[in-house]
Amino acid sequence: MTTTTKQPQTRNWNWSHLQKQAAPYLFVSPFFVLFAVFGLFPIVFSLLLAFSQWDSASGLSTMHWVKPLWSNFQYVLTDPLFATVLKNTFWIAIVSGLPQHLVAIPLAYVLHTQVGRFKHFFTAAFLVPFVTSTVAIALVTTVLFSERNGAVNQLLLWLNNFVLFDPLIPDQTGEGYIQWLFEKEYTKPLVCLLIFWRYFGYNTVLYLTGLQTISNDIYEAAQVDGATRWQQFWHITLPLLRPIAYFTTIGTVVGNLNLFDEVFILFSGPPSGGEEYSAQTIGLYLYNNAFGPNQDMGAAAATSWVLFVIVLLITLITNAVFRRTADPSEA
């Protein structure tokens, strides 16, 4: 190009060259402009807000620093409700998160090694909950788990007929069914069940992709060496799934800590967040602070920064764990 178009290039240098130089920057600018305005600016602003008091209804001019600068944080961190909310969030994150992966990994392995023609059919079926809207799912859950003759309570009552099951079920008579959406012992397990159901298919698909990237040669070599299927799974599949496992773990952790939609709809109350706030998460707490009756934007901003620090810490811990368990033999 440089040799053939020497003449026009010197004449057009300014325009043609300039636009070629500027083009990539122009093309990526929508992302950076939108991120700056709607992503970065809100984050920086929320940092200021976390140290301020502000009546959002009466305009920006009413915003001012709080007296001890850390009092918003102090308010949040000493709020007994925040302690409950923090405990709930972690409880839900662990109890819903761990089983997801314990099911998704073997399930993906089985789908990958044993299922041929119907593999796609099964993965698609498992993905349907992930695709369906949270609102739809939460509303259906409300119906199925309702105290008054909800399908789940009826199923439990029916299981009462079997000797084996009856010690598991708190109610033997069918009177006073479990109040899934109210009683504090049941609200968190219900949320966990919902999240598990919603995301196990998604994680299975991700692990399945991970499995597909593992070359068959490794398995063949292992077979030649006389490794059993179980040994192959334990010593080849699991270690080689580590990069995908890292990705899915981070996804689950960040997603679970940010949990909001589900609990907002299931436990819109009264009482909001279930009996004694037993299912209120950090996300719901934040929302109630900002948009609830108090309209305490400062406390909400402080909450969001506490949440950010927690997410950051857990991401770092996850990083460390995955690095430590790294298999030294892996290239």
């Binding site: 992302f31 709607f38 602003f45 369906t132 609102v135």
Partner: protein, 289 residues
């Protein structure tokens, strides 16, 4: 020849055993799939019963005949089809802007060499880790300042140029579009934007379909953003309308479930026909990311 007489016999019992295992396995997977789909099945079944019947004993296992009644109640209590249109409009606009911005960005990251490219790309990928709740309050404030609160544009524009879409586009363009094409177009005197618009864009069909579908599905389902941004019944999207039905004192569960079912149908149809593209989109983020 004679030596191989015994192994086939051994093989066939082994094969039978394997076949039995396979059938059992497929049965197990089918049960799991049915369990996964059960709540949606009940959504459709219970949508055909009226308020009193939804919670009757025993649980309904097949469709009833109250859906016309439920439909009437749904139309009385909500502006359902208005919300359906709002959701459609926002989702389509979201798809258009996302495809435009992301293909443009992905194209630049795939085909150009420029100063700061790698830094910009890392920055782009880093934004994925920021929790969405972090800037919620000031985000709302900005929207108030520019007058977008209550407007559909608040729901489709700000998120249009997202890291995931740009990453997906870049991967596709790097692997399937030769750089020589750009050079050829340049020699023909195309401007840089025209190369993108007339030469590259028409070649992006498959990845456009993939990203477009995923964007549509997520936009159709999005709740918390709409909850914070929309105030008037007129502008409500489907999730908001459904949720508002739940808020009243005497909930019409039959009508509510019918609305939920109608809102879910387009999505399920779309997903059934495009699940392959949807899966490939989900996983493309995971493989390299």
């Amino acid at each position: 020849m004679t030596v191989s007489l015994t192994p086939p016999a051994k093989n066939s019992t082994l094969r039978q055993k394997q076949l039995g295992g396979k059938i059992l396995l497929h049965l197990g997977l089918t049960v799991l799939a049915l369990l996964t789909l059960a709540p949606l099945f009940f959504m459709f079944v219970l949508a055909t019963y009226d308020k009193g019947q939804v919670f009757s004993m025993p649980v309904h296992m097949w469709f009833g005949d109250a859906s016309p009644l439920n439909y009437q109640i749904l139309l009385e209590q909500t502006n359902f089809w208005r919300a359906f249109w709002n959701s459609t409009y926002i989702s389509i606009m979201s798809v258009i802007f996302t495809l435009f911005f992301c293909s443009l960005g992905g194209y630049a990251f795939a085909m150009y060499e420029f100063k700061g490219k790698s830094v910009m790309f890392s920055l782009l990928l880093g934004t994925v880790l920021i929790p969405s709740l972090l800037g919620l309050v000031p985000y709302y404030l900005i929207m108030q300042q520019i007058g977008w609160v209550g407007k559909p544009i608040a729901l489709y524009f700000p998120g249009a140029a997202n890291a995931f879409g740009i990453f997906l586009m870049r991967q596709y363009i790097v692997s399937s579009i030769p750089k020589e094409l750009m050079e050829a177009a340049r020699i023909d005197g195309c401007s840089e934007f025209r190369i993108y618009w007339n030469v590259v864009l028409p070649l992006l069909g498959p990845v456009m379909a993939t990203l477009g579908l995923t964007t549509f599905i997520f936009s159709w389902n999005s709740f918390s953003n709409a909850l914070v941004m929309l105030r008037e019944q007129e502008t409500f999207t489907l999730p908001l309308v459904l949720r508002s039905l739940q808020g009243v004192s005497n909930v019409e569960w039959g009508a509510l479930l019918l609305g939920t079912a109608i809102a879910t149908v387009p999505l399920l149809i779309l997903f059934v026909f495009t699940s392959r593209q949807f899966v490939s989109n989900l996983t493309s983020g995971a493989v390299k990311g």
